[in-house]
């Protein structure tokens, strides 16, 4: 069996605040294979970012990993201290952030920001690092890298800056790249180019990518597998086809029916009523129950376990229990009506 590059086992992350404990990530388990792109989707505040930052241990001191293990490349890094993490960051785990306008240091030339990362992880001369940085700029599609090398970020457009951030994240050949809404701040054409670039880099280097997004269209284009998060938990996980064509969790039904159909004129867009819960005091049962029109009595009382649907597909909803009533997904009804 191939060993996964990244494995989370029952990971829970909490923040200690003056008002009490906020359970941002609850009991998340997933694994990521080499060369795979796993998309993590969900509403704002559902714990996507906290989950990814907890792997790199970038979270502030008020947070703590309550339980679970993080296994990277076969090594359990859950209890790694800052010094050990520093060696992993950049070289094994890397991250691209949402807003390219603020993630680069405004006063340091782009080239220097890239070489810094190279010299950090490989003991090579400045000259070689410079060569490598120029290659990276070329790889991410910056024209005339020799000229751009010595310029500060304010000479670059948003898309170019995100390419530079990618170059920084990729220079030390990491095994896992987290992209935290990396294309959200860009306009659609630039977004499409960055997505192509990510796919291209994946095919060339075999890097695994955790692609955090709330844009389902983007996810459909890039991901191999999709994990849907709600209130800090993964409610459904499966391949792109399974999630988009055969979702089982009522929340994912809601998400999918909220996608507009461009082929047919519709009235108002469908939306999921209500708001996601505040994680200060999460409900004992399924957190989605209060917004769920198909909620069963047990949804309010007991947390649903993960039901295996296929080897790659599982969902956490009581509707999949054998005792549950048989409910047809409203999504398939809607799709039928459209076609």
């Amino acid at each position: 069996m191939i060993q996964p590059v990244l494995q989370l086992k029952n990971l829970s992350v909490s923040f200690d605040t003056p008002n009490g404990e906020i359970e941002a990530v609850r009991d998340v388990s997933l694994s990521l294979n080499k060369g795979e792109i796993l998309a993590v989707v969900g509403e704002s505040g559902c714990g996507k970012t906290v989950m990814s930052q907890s792997v790199l241990k970038l979270l502030p001191k008020t947070s703590r990993i309550k339980q679970g293990r993080i296994i990277v490349d076969g090594n359990d890094i859950t209890d790694y201290k800052e010094k050990q993490m520093r060696k992993l960051r950049g070289s094994v785990l890397s991250m691209v952030f949402q807003d390219p306008m603020t993630t680069l240091n405004p006063t340091i030339p782009i080239g220097k920001q890239i070489t810094e990362s190279i010299i950090k992880h490989n003991k090579i001369s400045k000259e070689l690092a410079r060569k490598r940085a120029l290659e990276m700029l070329d790889l991410v599609g910056i024209d005339n890298p020799l000229h751009m090398f010595s310029l500060q970020p304010h000479f670059f457009s948003g898309g170019m800056r995100q390419r530079c951030v990618l170059a920084i994240a990729l220079t030390a050949n990491p095994k896992v790249l987290f992209t935290d809404e990396a294309t959200t701040a860009l306009d659609v054409t630039v977004q499409a180019k960055i997505l192509d670039l990510l796919l291209d880099i994946r095919n060339k280097t075999g890097i695994s990518i955790v692609f955090i997004s709330h844009d389902l269209g983007v996810v459909a284009r890039i991901a191999d597998r999709v994990a849907v998060m709600y209130a800090g938990k993964i409610v459904e996980i499966g391949t792109v086809e399974e999630i988009f064509y055969d979702p089982r969790h009522p929340y994912v039904w809601g998400l999918m029916s909220a996608l507009p159909y461009l082929t047919k004129e519709e009235g108002n867009l469908t939306c999921i009523p209500g708001m996601p819960p505040v994680m200060l005091d999460p409900p004992p049962g399924d957190a989605f129950a209060v917004r769920n029109e198909f909620a069963l009595a047990i949804d309010y009382e007991k947390m649903p376990p993960m039901f295996q649907i296929s080897p790659t597909h599982s969902a956490a909803t009581w509707l999949l229990d054998e005792r549950a009533p048989n409910i047809t997904s409203p999504l398939s009804l809607k799709r039928m009506a459209v076609s």
């Binding site: 960051r89 991250m95 993630t103 240091n105 405004p106 810094e116 990362s117 920084i168």
Partner: protein, 339 residues
């Protein structure tokens, strides 16, 4: 416009601004000094003025240029001043330039040393506090620093003299050097220690706190997260990344602070009877020594205004975003290369 012409234009603009400000300053001080109650002849003749006849007093006024309306006196003064003749000191009865010139050096040595020490120490302290934010050490320094800043400098001076000069006999209580030892550097340093302590304690925390907070703002920015995910250590992030972005602010603060530190020098000079322009300016105002006051004010004004101009120029070098010429030059370059 080519960059060279722009630089020349900028220099002329700033020089004209400097001259205009100095002119307004001289008019203001000239009027204010003469409108203040008191008789300059009192300081010229001492108690003898009481036994002088009205004719003698009038004759003296005409001889000293103190007759006629103020604007007429001003035209006469500025005519002489533009030829380098700043008149006679009414108290010392010698040309004002001769009174001031031996003292400028003393003030510049004391003020300059204090200025450099204040900012070197403030920056170090701020870096240290920002590195260990909210640690016990940081909190103690914050409290002690604030308390030290609010100790009145004149009171502190007197207490220090009492302890170190009168009780312990370690350090001299006044003067810039012992008689006949003006070239002895060690002797000068011994005389400067107490004034320097007063000046540093009364300025240090004010600036250290400003720089500390500026650094803490920087530490919370997005690019720090990227630097961290590259594998940089905290020290590298604070010193290499954040400090670079704070440096222009420090330079601006340093420029703005020159009047503040200079006025501190004046206080320290008065308390320790240190022969400098500060003590002189207090005396000249007290004795209605108009000509001396004008010269001291002009020198102080020139120091303050020119330092702010220099600071602006240094800022442009550190942070090229403040400079317009480079951007336009770059645009021209790219436009010509792409066409």
């Amino acid at each position: 416009m080519n960059p060279k012409a722009m630089i020349i234009k900028k220099i002329t603009k700033r020089t004209l601004g400097l001259i205009l400000t100095m002119f307004i300053l001289s008019v203001g001080v000239f009027y204010l000094a003469r409108l203040a109650p008191g008789d300059p002849l009192q300081s010229f003749y001492g108690d003898a003025v009481e036994s002088m006849t009205t004719q003698e007093l009038d004759a003296a006024r005409i001889r000293l240029g103190l007759d006629g309306p103020i604007y007429a006196q001003y035209t006469k003064w500025i005519g002489n001043a533009s030829q380098g003749d700043f008149g006679l000191s009414l108290k010392y009865k010698t040309p004002t330039l001769d009174v001031v010139s031996p003292l400028i050096g003393n003030t510049l040595i004391l003020g300059g040393t204090a200025y450099i020490l204040v900012f070197v120490l403030a920056t170090l302290l701020a870096l240290f506090c920002a590195m260990n934010e909210d640690s016990l050490f940081d909190r103690i320094i914050c409290k002690v620093g604030t308390a030290a800043y609010y100790i009145p400098p004149f009171w502190l001076g007197v207490v220090l003299v009492l302890i170190f000069s009168i009780n312990l006999h370690w350090l001299p209580s006044s003067g810039a050097y012992d008689i006949g030892k003006s070239g002895d550097i060690l002797n000068r340093i011994r005389h400067m220690i107490l004034p320097l302590i007063v000046m540093i304690l009364s300025h240090l925390w004010y600036y250290a706190y400003m720089i500390r907070n500026k650094l803490l703002d920087e530490v919370r920015k997005d690019y720090v997260l990227l630097a961290k995910s590259k594998g940089c250590t905290k020290t590298e992030i604070v010193f290499k990344h954040c400090f670079r972005n704070v440096a222009p602010t420090i330079v601006s603060i340093m420029a703005i602070s020159i009047p503040h530190v200079l006025s501190g020098t004046y206080i320290a000079e008065s308390v320790f009877n240190y022969p400098g322009i500060g003590a002189l300016s207090v005396q000249s105002a007290k004795y209605h020594d108009y000509n001396l006051l004008m010269l001291v004010v002009l020198i102080t004004g020139l120091l303050v205004i020119s330092s702010s101009i220099i600071a602006q120029s240094i800022n442009e070098v550190i942070d090229p975003r403040m400079k317009l010429t480079e951007v336009s030059a770059w645009r021209e370059k790219t436009a010509s290369s792409s066409s």
